[in-house]
Symmetry: C2
Subunit: 451 residues, 2 copies
């Protein structure tokens, strides 16, 4: 089947993103099944192999198999490649795809391209994609080298130290959360250096590409006479991200201080709370056995994972901006304000609508998935299922350890959730719907009693 430009032109950008992701999963499946990928004697079933491919492309990190016990070094390199494909992919390749078919450039791109002052031009987009790849590689390489040098003390050879350091850096920056230690970052529970580096890498990956590019522009132009203005998007997403990190840390500390953290020193409690608050945004790495958390924390972490990371980042979930706009809307609605002002800008009505649609759809999806999984996995506790569902939708990858026990239907549902979480509900919604539809006639308005 040849795809001609005319044929592509019939689809919406959102449909093309979904299509791209299907392709990426296929490529990922093939890369992870090349000869020499598996360790000798290891056999992985089709569904588990597909699950790993979906999990890797969506940089979720949930896994039904043991990564370290399954892949050769060549296999791990392939896995890292797939993580890049997933992490950087949707944003940059999606943009490129749109430009190729000469569609009107979408909202996300315009937002980004504005930063480069090359609005709507091909050079602007190509430059943008180069920027994204460059920034991510610089972050991964820097982090990987620092970690490798530091980790040398624990390993016999530089090869081993380098493999572990680079894998950790890629896994953190792309927020994939895969590990080859069989125990995530638990061996580094007391190692605040590793934890700090990893947290920085996670945040850089999850904060959103536009933020990174704007910060780079800001630094570059700091001596210009005209002051660089950060976009509203960057301000909202960064502030929300920061508030969520602090809020998550405080609540986890408060809940677990005299429960799961009992007997720890205050700095251990603080770092464990902070690390899992950061990780719940979308990375899914852990320094502590999360099955030790109380159910209250499990539900709390589930809501954090449901929220997820910034849009145009390596993360999933409903996204930080969706939450921010919902809260801003609620405050302004309660005050009776007729417009939403924030950072001396006005929020557009259509963005309030988008946040509403995303939240409703995500909520319905999670509840439906939970009821279905309760039926297909009768032996798994409900909290573990909710945790797994929100972890998949938030492409976070934390788990209470039930992933490999799931039934076939359970695995398929989680794959769907990872896919939707990564692509984003807005794209997914538009895929179902289609183009804007101006209705020509108007019926009279009539009020309805609400709530």
């Amino acid at each position: 089947m040849r795809i001609s430009p005319e044929k592509i032109n019939k689809y919406t950008p959102a449909q093309l993103i979904v299509f791209y992701y299907f392709m990426a999963i296929t490529v990922s499946y093939i890369l992870l099944n090349l000869p020499g990928v598996y360790l000798p004697g290891v056999h992985v079933t089709f569904i588990d192999s597909l699950f790993t491919a979906v999990s890797a492309v969506s940089v979720t990190g949930l896994s039904t198999i043991s990564i370290g016990g399954t892949y050769t070094t060549f296999g791990l390199v392939m896995l890292m490649l797939v993580l890049q494909l997933g992490g950087i992919g949707i944003m940059s390749l999606g943009t490129f795809f749109w430009l190729l078919i000469k569609k009107r450039i979408g909202l996300r791109e315009r937002q980004l391209i504005m930063v480069d002052h090359n609005q709507y031009s091909l050079q602007g987009v190509v430059h943008l994609i180069q920027e994204i790849i460059k920034i991510i590689f610089v972050i991964e390489l820097t982090g990987g080298l620092i970690l490798s040098i530091y980790l040398k003390q624990f390993y016999a050879t530089w090869n081993e130290a380098f493999l572990h350091g680079m894998f950790m850096a890629v896994s953190a920056t792309t927020n994939a959360g895969f590990d080859i230690t069989e125990a995530s970052l638990m061996p580094y529970f007391g190692d605040y250096f590793v934890q700090t580096i990893v947290m920085i890498l996670i945040v850089l990956g999850a904060i959103g590409f536009p933020v990174l590019i704007e910060v780079k522009s800001f630094v570059k132009r700091r001596h210009d006479t005209v002051r660089f203005r950060f976009s509203l998007f960057t301000k909202i997403t960064t502030v929300t991200f920061g508030i969520l990190l602090v809020f998550g840390t405080v609540v986890l500390y408060a809940i677990e201080s005299s429960n799961a953290f009992r007997g720890m020193a205050w700095h251990e409690k603080l770092f464990t709370s902070l690390f899992h608050s950061v990780s719940a945004r979308s990375a899914g790495l852990t320094t502590f056995d999360v099955t030790q958390f109380t159910e209250a924390s499990d539900i709390f972490i589930s809501t954090l994972m449901f929220i997820g990371a910034s849009p145009s980042s390596v993360g999933g979930g409903i996204r930080t901006t969706t939450l921010a706009i919902a809260i801003l809307f609620l405050i302004n609605f309660a005050k009776g304000n007729d417009v939403i002002h924030v950072f001396k800008r006005q929020i557009k009505l259509v963005d309030v609508f988008r946040s509403y649609a995303v939240i409703i759809l995500a909520g319905v999806m999670v509840v439906t998935a939970l009821i279905t999984l309760l039926l297909t996995e009768p032996d798994v506790p409900v909290v573990a299922l909710l945790f797994e569902i929100t972890s998949a939708f938030g492409t976070c990858g934390m788990s209470l350890g039930i992933t490999s026990d799931l039934s076939m239907i359970g695995k398929v549902i989680l794959m769907l959730l990872m896919f939707i979480g990564r692509v984003g509900l807005i794209s997914f919604l538009y895929t179902l719907g289609g183009k804007e539809n101006k209705i020509a006639y108007r019926y009279p308005k009539e009020r309805v009693i609400i709530g």
Copy 2:
């Protein structure tokens, strides 16, 4: 402290509704603690007595004590009085209150008064309240008499049959869900006559007063030359109510057919599914031991209770219209439509906003309550807590049997939820906020990436 009209005038109608409800709880507490109310030798603690008062005024029916084992016949009559105060109260007395202080008549009233073609007049409102009381009393009396005559076969005296019949009718019509049998309607598991009468009474109470009044007008004017037009509100709430009943029945049947309902005849499965689907709207009466349901059904029933009944009815929750508008919004958003049309009418933007605010706030409330209760009630399973929380918020009153085991904090949280559920989140939200706030200046608009 005397309350002068000038002083009252400073408050919003929503604040007055909340104030009225505080008053009603106080009166209810006093009525349920009059001499002769308790059976000899029974002692009820302050918190349990307050809990019963809140539960009765909000017609929820959750109870930390055994009703039949606590109250004398006089006490049961007092309880029925409180149920009327709660069920009919907020709507009719609220309206009356507003008129007394000569405020501009609110949306709900206008909606109702339009039906009487006496817009904005004192006579119209007084007539309206008389109508509400008359209709409810006629329904309760008719239902009570039918049930009493039928129940005579099970009791020695007419007095007993009458007490049980009337209590059942009042409990069903006001959707209170209290019972004096110690086992809700489980003794009538196979009695489809009692179940059918009770279901009809429940629906009449939960469908909303405007619907009853419009149907009455429709019947009265069926021979007029000008065709009676049902309001958009009536159409939306009735259709949503009907769809929810059918949907609830089908899903419960599907989930439990080979689980909790295993071994039953098909008509028993059908009636049990139907009855609990009807009851989950807001009544909370049960014909089957709900602790036998699977966790999947528990979560499903929790969502049904979270949705609740019609606005301006005896029920709680986010309300049927909120759900309907959320779904209509989602469909139209996905289609890209720029207006929401339904039943040849246009939905106003402000009603879409209201539904958004109610859903977000309700969701946050339920999750916060769940995390808090998980900490205060470490021995209660999470599903039982979620069930109890949504049951309180939906003023439904079904329970997995944990109400009396709750801690003091747990009981207080449930009282708050019942209160908010009954008053309605919109009223509650406006109580926090205040009047409409036209912002004079406008910042430039800027888009934000969502979801």
